[in-house]
Point group: C2
Chain length 98, copies 2
DNA sequence: ACAACACATGAGCTTGCATTCATATGAATG
DNA sequence: CATTCATATGAATGCAAGCTCATGTGTTGT
């Protein structure tokens, strides 16, 4: 790991901050497990109301953790890339050893 | 990755939340790079005042990310385990590819 | 025992986040 | 083209995070 710049640190902190929320983390885990999902499906799985979910999905999009594509009336959300799953897996394994 | 429980998700989210702060993340990176450091050394490296640093160090301790041992008048902080570095490294590599 | 140093803690303040409510946008369908 | 379904957005609110300031606790040295 080469020395991170301040910008790297800020960007990384905001990435981790985006994941540091039970609802948003659940979304990421749900997408990792199930592949692409609609907003209403995510609401049902995670237990957030539609509006709250939309707000949190925007945070995840801004953090480039998820991406959305329209499919008819629905929006299908999926993970943005493979790093996301990796980060979450490490964090989970940290938790389970303590 | 086996299915996480709700408690796992909550614990993981708070772990990531603890890292999702530039000052705290800088502390973790500094400890990873330099090994154990005193509070005043961390203040100098990270750029937080002593009181603010102590408050943030408590968050990191509560999240079991760092541990402290007294050495004379000083407190020496170090990373709690190897997972921490791993999580941060992944997050950094995610940032650098985007 | 007291003074100085290193750090922790608590109160108070400001600011930002997460939710809710109301409303807007966008697509399909009759 | 008006209505309905799916999602997004904006304003308002409640609450917690993070900082500063003042003070407390623990340790060394004299």
């Amino acid at each position: 790991m080469t020395m991170p710049t301040e910008a790297d640190i800020a960007a990384t902190a905001s990435l981790l901050d985006a994941l540091g929320h039970p609802g948003r983390l659940s979304v990421v885990l749900a997408l990792h497990t199930n592949g692409a999902l609609s907003v209403s499906a995510l609401c049902a799985l995670v237990g957030l109301e539609q509006s709250a979910m939309s707000h949190q999905l925007r945070v995840l999009r801004d953090a480039r953790l998820v991406q959305a594509q329209r499919q008819g009336k629905q929006m299908l959300y999926s993970l943005h890339d493979h790093h996301v799953a990796h980060i979450v897996a490490d964090a989970l394994s940290h938790i389970r050893e303590n």
